[in-house]
Amino acid sequence: MSQYILLRHREIPNLDQLDVYLKHGGFEALKKVVTQMQPADVVNEVKASGLRGRGGAGFPTGVKWSFLPNNIWPHYVVCNADESEPGTFKDREILESNPFQLLEGLMIASYAVQANVAYIYLRGEFWQIAHQLDEKIAELEKAGLLGDNLFGTAYSLRIYTHLGAGAYICGEETALLESLEGKLGQPRLRPPFPAVYGLYGKPTVVNNVETLANLPPILENGAQWYRRFGTEKSPGMKIFCLSGNVNRPGNYELPLGTTFRELIYTHGGGIPEGRKVKAILPAGASSAIIAVNDDTILDTPMDYESVAAIGSQLGSASVIVADETVNMAWLVARTVNFFKHESCGKCTPCREGTFWMNRIAQRMMAGKATESDVDLLETVANQIAGKCLCALGEFSVMAVQTGIGQFRVDFLNQVKQTAPATQGD
């Protein structure tokens, strides 16, 4: 049996060609869904599978779909391909090498919520991928697999791609919708949630690329089959993006519940020169840093519950590994700089706070800070938390809070320097 349900192109060459994809069972799931199942059945099947959103929030996908009211029309489905979290590169691989599985998943999702128009919102830097996707969409339409009256039924669907313009904040679903509508990419107030008031004010489902790519296998093989992978509360396969100080960084499709140790050492080839792991950022820059003080932490299973239990979040599983040579102050300064650059500016704490934290962090790195600046950085981070309009602001402080909290020594050493810092000490 194949070890991949998502990154199948690693076993099947040229899976990005329509004829190859069809030859390997492509669009069988969609045909089954459209011709034999009611939309509500599809929703129930996905609910039963326990599939959780792979974009970072981990919200049960089927439950999200069931929130759409049936008395407001039209419904929309938007695929969130604005993959901008540092350390995340899984959606890209799917979009580039297994695009038809994503498209089929998007079509299944659209059928499930009875949407006749779906959008794929890609980050601006993916313009080449967007061109390729446009070609694939045209191919599908020509083959009669997309457009009016799919498989002889009354169901019609059109898919459009839309490019962003280089903003991480547009990965946040309401900011994405604003950008899609042609407005400034700033998040909206929630409630109301997109499921009730989304694109152009209509009920909308926003799903991550990886989430959608899971749908064809689930609908083809059934919810129970899907539950054989992963854990009880976090079923299924997940693409883990491994990066940082590892010998073999890259995407690894593994069942949820795989431990950090297995990912880093068995698949990732371990740390160069056999160095020790100092810290792990399991959700890219938006993580609470896991300090690997005790080797047994590496045995934590990577699923949503277990990572939360050790005080962090799994998020989108962009696992960044920092070894003992990394100056955590430098790392935190990098994340702070990222968030300052990406803050949309709508709410005061994030806009001003990330700018302030960045100034302090830059001074630290330039060797012009003092010990009280470390306290100040922590205080400012605490001041931002709990006040922001959207998750970007809240997550921007996690690395700072956990970084200073667990690696204060690195920061204190940094401020003793008077020369600019580099990655290593």
Binding site: I169, L184, E342, G345, T348, P349, E352, R359, K387
Partner: protein
């Protein structure tokens, strides 16, 4: 009551309608929740995070759907883990809100600290200092010291002109988006917006000229910091040095309530100088807004061109004279004319002036004639708006008809309020010969050709738009575009008939409103002035003409000739106009800012204005001049004070009965609170302490009333035939109104110069071709001197030539004309 919710804020119980936001509910019981981005007249966005409060809700048992109770029987309250923004959270039953505890106080202090990190230390020179919400809230809730390093502050562009009227200081901006939201949501002029993101988020303008909106000045009132300031007031004075005086704008019939700020200055030699015009809150008239014309076009009052001495014609020349001499000369001239006296007054004057002028005409058995191109004021008295009317309360079930008027140019605040009414669900029907800006919000747009206005009214009476004729309430606004005096009379009559037949009269929010050109035209009609069929003949046949606040000679060469043929001409004016130049006696009059009086708005509300600056020496008020002339003729007219004249008005004019100056000065609590201690909430508009005015009853409310002028059968389909006129090679010459024209009271405001419309003729390209003017740059209008530039515009109707009113094209009313091409001058050598 069914739709009310009870909640507790800081221990106080309050009942408010469902859907009320926490911040408003708190304000209603006197608890201040500080806000920056929230404004009570706009939708909340929850951006600034200043209004964070602790919110607790009763815990509901999921199984029984009943509140869980504590041991003592009170509901268990679950407080959120995070603070919530009071401006975006609607109240719910049993909610508990805490605005005064350590967590909330820290949150406020921290948000202010964030805002101040990059806010520049501009307070000493910032125009907002002294009336600045950021200053006030920092004093109340903010940190005393900053932990941010001064050198690390973000530096952005300062003193950026967004157009020549408004300056932006990007460093001061706290990105609250009030200006952007005001422009986009309230006045549909999205000419400013955000650019960049994060800390670099800044305001830019997209229009050319910059910030091209008639309401741009209002953003400086609601901006919580000194980021948006007016060029007019820049560095004028500090707010605490200014004295506020209530007044009324005279530029259009809306009658917006103003507050002028004055100061005694050294530069003026110790005289009081008007530093700026600000809105005064009157929710029934202009809410808290004024248009830019009212805000920036007050400089005529202090213009150095003002007449300061009486002038008398001696040996063919106008020479300065003493008051006694001038009054004597005027009285002599009028006495000789006897009954053949025409008193011609313009609608810029106050009720008191107009009353005395009409009394003089009556006393001499002469005629009191209103100088206007628009009739129908007698009908608006009959079926006008009645007390209790409020455009701000129009909504679902109500209807509004606007015909032959471009409200965006002629009365911007009415445009704004009708747009809001349409957005609340009122059925808006706009009838016009050319597209106007109000049509965007109209449920139905009715297009007609000039001359077919009455056809539209007939079709409405025939039920063409049932939502209009069957609406609960109907207000009809009629204008004068493309119509002369007879035409507007006919249109007013038709509209009155429409209202009468459908029963939309005599109760609040029903009636006829005239979109006059002048601020107090309605008052002129009320004071007893009327129009005549032929102004030229009436003037030329008069043995004596007394003209006040009107410039017929400057408006039309035919009227100038008529005036020359008239006998003795006496003029009461502010400036030496064309008419004044032809006069035998000229009296220098005071402007409205130098005295008190009353104006009657187009909605028929009588409002007081107060003296703002000392009278310009040696001017006298119009009613005083008239009374002094009358005295010399042996008539005793009231001249002791405007208040006493008003008492006469109240006793002699039926619908003004019972009104007195004290009654006009009464005020009441208004929502939202603005100004002074509430300026962080509603903005720096002034609160109204000097009078909200009184709405007049309509004559139709009297016992046994019948509509005097009534079309019993069908309305004529056309008042004239445009096609026939075109076939004769003529076009219908139509004046259109632009807000910024070059009229006597607007021109002295040089700040607006770049936006003032210039004289030109505008044609549809097809029309230009049809009359042989393709490719021509200048045209000559038959009967008028001087070539005018030709502008082609595809949005205009065909067969018509347009020109802007009060821009130097001397033609008062529409008429058929021929246009000729003017050859380009051959350049010499």
């Amino acid at each position: 009551m069914a739709n009310e919710v009870t909640l507790t804020i800081d221990g106080k119980t309050v009942r408010v309608p469902q859907g009320t936001l926490i911040v408003d509910a708190a304000k209603k019981i006197g608890i201040d929740v500080p806000v920056f981005c929230y404004h009570p007249k706009m939708e909340p966005v929850g951006m600034c995070r200043m209004c964070l409060v602790e919110v607790g809700r009763p815990v509901m048992d999921r199984a029984t759907n009943q509140p869980v109770l504590e041991a003592d029987g009170t509901p268990r309250i679950a407080f959120g883990a995070k603070l919530e923004t009071a401006c975006t959270t609607p109240v719910s039953e049993g909610m508990v809100v805490i605005t005064q505890n350590q967590k909330v106080a820290s949150a406020r202090r921290e948000v202010l600290e964030f805002l101040l990190t990059s806010h520049p230390l501009d307070c000493p020179i910032c125009d907002k200092g002294g009336e600045c919400p950021l200053q006030n809230l920092t004093m109340g809730y903010g940190p005393a010291e900053s932990r941010f390093l001064f050198e690390e502050k973000m530096h952005l562009a300062k003193h950026v002109p967004l157009g020549e009227l408004i300056y932006l200081d990007r460093e001061r901006c706290i990105q609250c988006a009030r200006c952007v939201r005001f422009q986009k949501d309230l006045v549909d002029d999205p000419v400013i917006g955000f650019y960049q993101r994060g800390r670099s988020l800044e305001i830019v303008t997209y229009s050319e000229p910059g910030f091209d909106s008639y309401f741009s000045g209002n953003t400086t009132d609601i901006c919580p910091v000194g980021a948006l300031t007016t060029a007019d007031f820049r560095f004028g004075a500090r707010p605490w040095e200014l004295k506020p005086v209530a007044s009324i704008c005279t530029h259009c019939p809306v009658g917006c309530n103003l507050t002028f700020n004055v100061r005694r200055e050294a530069a003026s030699g110790g005289k009081l100088v008007i530093k700026r015009a600000m809105p005064r809150q009157n929710e029934l008239v202009n809410e808290i807004w004024i248009c830019d014309k009212g805000r920036f076009a007050y400089h005529f009052v202090e213009s150095p061109q003002r007449l300061t001495q009486p002038l008398v014609r001696k040996n063919g020349e106008l020479v300065p004279a003493s008051w006694e001499e001038a009054l004597e000369a005027a009285a002599q001239g009028l006495k000789q004319a006897g009954e053949n006296l025409v008193v011609l007054a313009g609608g810029r004057l106050s009720n008191e002036d107009l009353f005395n002028l009409r009394k003089l005409a009556d006393a001499q058995r002469g005629k009191a004639i209103l100088y206007t191109h628009m009739g129908g004021g007698d009908l608006t008295q009959q079926v006008g708006l009645t007390p209790g009317s409020n455009l701000g309360s129009l909504g679902k079930g109500d209807a509004v008809l606007v015909i032959a008027a471009d409200l965006h140019e002629e009365a911007p605040i009415w445009w704004m309020r009708l747009k809001a009414a349409a957005e609340r669900g009122a059925v808006l029907v706009v009838a016009g010969a050319r597209p106007t800006r109000l049509e965007r919000y109209a449920a139905k747009v009715m297009r007609y050709r000039y001359g077919e206005e009455l056809n539209i009214i007939q079709s409405l009476m025939d039920g063409a738009v049932p939502e209009l004729s069957q609406a609960e309430n109907l207000v009809v606004f009629y204008g004068a575009e493309g119509l002369d005096l007879l035409g507007t009379n006919a249109l007013a009559q038709a509209c009155a008939t429409l209202l009468y037949r459908s029963g939309h009269y005599g109760r609040p929010n029903n009636g006829l409103v005239g979109v006059w050109k002048e601020g107090n035209a309605q008052g002129a009609w009320d004071m007893g002035f009327h129009t005549v069929g032929n102004y030229t003949r009436t003037l030329s046949e008069a043995a004596a003409v007394l003209i006040a606040a009107a410039d017929p000679a400057g408006d039309d060469p035919l009227l100038a000739q008529a005036l020359d043929r008239a006998g003795f001409v006496v003029v009461q004016e502010l400036f030496l106009t064309e008419t004044a130049r032809r006069a035998d006696v000229v009296f220098p009059a005071q402007s409205f800012a130098e005295r008190e009086g009353t104006f009657t708005s187009g909605e028929r509300r009588v409002q007081r204005f107060y003296p703002v600056i000392y009278p310009v020496p040696d001017c006298r008020a119009d009613f005083v001049i008239t009374a002094q002339v009358a005295r010399k003729l042996g008539h005793a007219l009231e001249m002791a004070s405007p208040a006493k004249v008003f008492l006469q008005i109240a006793s002699e004019i039926s619908h003004y009965q019972g009104l007195t100056y004290p009654r006009l000065a009464e005020v009441e609590e208004q929502w939202p609170p603005v100004g002074r201690s509430d300026l962080y909430y509603g903005g720096t508009a002034y609160d109204n302490r000097q009078g909200m005015g009184v709405a007049l009853p309509a004559l139709c409310q009297q016992q046994g009333w019948q509509l005097p002028m009534f079309w019993n059968d069908r309305l004529p389909e056309r008042t004239f035939e445009l096609a026939a006129m075109n076939q004769q090679g003529m076009v219908w010459l139509v004046p259109f109104n632009r807000l910024y024209d070059r009229g006597t009271t607007v021109k002295p405001s040089q700040l607006l110069e770049k936006r003032m419309v210039s004289a030109h003729i505008a044609l549809h390209p097809e029309t230009a071709r049809a009359v042989g003017l393709s490719g021509v740059e200048k045209v000559q209008v038959e009967g008028l001197d001087g070539p005018l530039p030709l502008v082609l515009d595809e949005t205009l109707p065909q067969g018509v030539a347009f020109y802007p009113r009060s821009a130097g094209v001397p033609a008062l009313a529409p008429r058929g004309v021929k246009l000729h091409a003017v050859k380009a001058e051959v350049q010499e050598g």
